[in-house]
Subunit: 412 residues, 2 copies
């Protein structure tokens, strides 16, 4: 294996920029920076300035994407992530990828050997699905149905249209030029515990799990909790919980090591302590990198819903609400990422799948794409406790920088 060029990134600048970005909407050690909030828009303007200072032709487009275009000659590598947060989020989720992109752009420009390399960088809007899943990069990639801008709403009913208006945005996004790009690279915290437990510094993602989501409803009969004997009840809540208990057992029997299933939302109706629930609704999310395994797990759900309603004395209705297929990432890009990882943290990296969906999955439909992970301490994410050691943050950026330069060299 030939040795790659090592790019001189500036670790202090990388960390300083990360801490500076955290100040926008900082809450304890995390951030409250939901898309289009004041803190979010302030952070976008700050980022725009950083891009301009880095010599890019930078724009905040009409849906809030901050994109910095290189003026150098093609082919261009696109590096991106996001800076918007969960309602209460961690400081690295997305932000780390954006600041790495900025650092790599600067480092390449500062090195005479690489100053000619063309890199665009971007922070996509609403990656956290506040109004719409991957709103920003879907807009950029031309994947966004036009009605979304006028119809999307936040959980609490707030309209995307109004949020854009308040943020001074016109709803029209930049569109990408496919011929411009040789590929797309991202880096992200793992948001899970595998690297941390394995004491690895870098993960090279080979595939992104597919996700199928279902809304499962149980229809019973609401009634007084005191005066209705157990034998005469049609308790939708209890039925749901018994159903989940069996489903959980079945899934444990047939799960691969990468299968996960989650019931994140549950609602009982009418939801009063002294009333037997007449209706219960839950969301069920299935994730696995194998389409076949997802299909097997889905079939268990359908089969159980057809069989168990009688014993549980309720009607069961299943509706599929999300069906995102698994994605295999580009082999050549992976190879370069592995090589860079081996150079900077020999034997402390691994190839792994991603359980979370990332914007890389969308870009991979249009160009060779790759994704790196750095460890999340304790596997914690979507929490103010989310963290990664400074050493790992620096190594991750270094691996990505070298891989970026190598990919541009190879394509030139």
């Amino acid at each position: 294996m030939q040795t790659m060029k090592s790019i001189a990134i500036n670790p202090d600048r990388l960390l300083d920029n990360l801490y500076e970005l955290r100040k926008f909407g900082q809450y304890k050690t995390g951030v409250v920076r939901q898309v289009y909030s004041r803190a979010d828009m302030d952070s976008r303007r700050w980022l725009w300035e950083q891009m301009v200072q880095a010599g890019l032709d930078a724009r905040i487009d009409g849906i809030g994407n901050v994109i910095g275009y290189s003026g150098k000659s093609l082919p261009t590598l696109l590096l991106g992530s996001h800076t918007d947060s969960q309602p209460v989020g961690g400081w690295l989720d997305g932000s780390y990828g954006v600041i790495c992109a900025l650092e790599i752009c600067r480092a390449l420009a500062e090195n005479p050997d690489t100053a000619h390399m063309s890199v665009d960088i971007a922070a996509w809007a609403d990656e956290q699905n506040t109004y719409h899943d991957f709103l920003g990069c879907q807009g950029f990639l031309g994947l966004l149905p036009p009605q979304v801008i006028n119809t999307a709403i936040r959980n609490d009913g707030h309209r995307l249209e109004d949020a854009l208006l308040a943020a001074g945005l016109d709803g029209i996004s930049e569109q990408f030029l496919p011929d411009r790009y040789l590929g797309y690279l991202g880096i992200h915290i793992e948001q899970g515990p595998r690297l941390d437990i394995a004491q690895k510094t870098v993960g090279v993602v080979n595939q992104i799990a597919g996700c199928r989501e279902f809304s499962v409803s149980f229809f019973g009969q609401s009634n007084h909790a005191g005066s209705t004997p157990m034998a005469m009840r049609h308790d939708a809540g209890l039925a749901m919980m018994e159903f989940v208990s069996v489903l959980n057992r079945r899934y444990h029997q047939q799960a691969t090591r990468q299968s996960v299933w989650t019931i994140g939302e549950v609602q009982l109706d009418p939801g009063a302590a002294c009333v037997i629930p007449g209706k219960a609704v839950m969301t069920l999310q299935l994730r696995d990198p194998s389409e076949k395994q997802l299909e097997r797990m889905e079939q268990v759900l359908w089969q159980m819903s057809r069989v168990m309603h009688k014993g549980l004395k309720v009607d069961i209705q299943v509706e599929k609400t999300i069906n995102t297929p698994p994605v295999q990432l580009d082999g050549k890009v992976q190879e370069v990422l592995c090589q860079a990882a081996e150079q900077h943290c020999p034997q402390r990296w691994q190839v792994m799948s991603s359980g979370a969906i990332h914007n890389v999955a969308l870009f991979s439909r249009f160009m060779p794409s790759g994704l790196l992970f750095v460890p999340s301490i304790g596997g914690v994410s979507h929490s103010v406790d989310e963290d990664t050691s400074e050493e790992d943050l620096i190594t991750g950026c270094q691996v990505m920088a070298d891989a970026a330069a190598e990919l541009i060299s190879l394509a030139s």
Copy 2:
């Protein structure tokens, strides 16, 4: 058994009044008449007029109780129920008891043989626990802690203080004179299916089940639903559902025919489809007419919470929020009610316990008290579908009227 005097009630007036009362807040065949709402206050003023026309000294007190005092010589029998509804309620829940009381008061006055008999009637405020459990009759009985008026809030945060102010009420209730009353009688729809299934017309209640309510909390670790492997999860929601499944099995094994248990409220935190619940909270209500059985069921809960947290990989916290002991109703009053029932619907009545708590349980601490049930068709209540045949409504009132007259005769 000696034959009782039969009181000539007016069935058409009884039904007309019931239908007229339904018009206040009518929704489909039920009512939306939560306490202190406009419809509720309108219905109280209407009821006050009916009482005045029936010759009573009627008042709407400072917490909304509508009370009609008889001017006749002691001893007095008190008849009461409530007219406020669940958020969406049935037309007979409470209202039937109030209109029966009104009809009996009129019927006794119209009959020269019984015109001397002294009957007070009342519609107690907030029997449906919109702001506070049994607010109205607790106030009347002097059981209400004084701070309740200033601190009680509705589920949505609306303050009792503000509701009273808006309704023009000063928060000060009438207080009962213990020496005035020989006893208390109520009649209510069963709100359960037992009479309907047994094809009985009347139930004479001998005991009211006790109720213990618990808030059970499960503390896990919130995390990303995609990137956290199953083996590393501390899923509070799944733990709750597995816990309930085992609890349900244990309770089925040790239940008496009258034991019921209900999980009416459940909350997952943060409650998003793609986030593993870090916290889950549920209410558990246990009811049984036997204190011993309630204690056994409670112990199972404590025991399970101490044993299962390890396997479920969560912390479990149990808090007892309600502890209402079972109530045995007065034997002599029961005897009179049984005799009246046998006279008007021979063999179509039964002695039974009440799973629901009724204000009779509170009055029984101060005076001999009795409670009659009429069937709920299909056992349905707290729903616009709640109904009872007109024939049963009339017979129930007739049984209560005869028993009332007999109780007053016996005490004179």
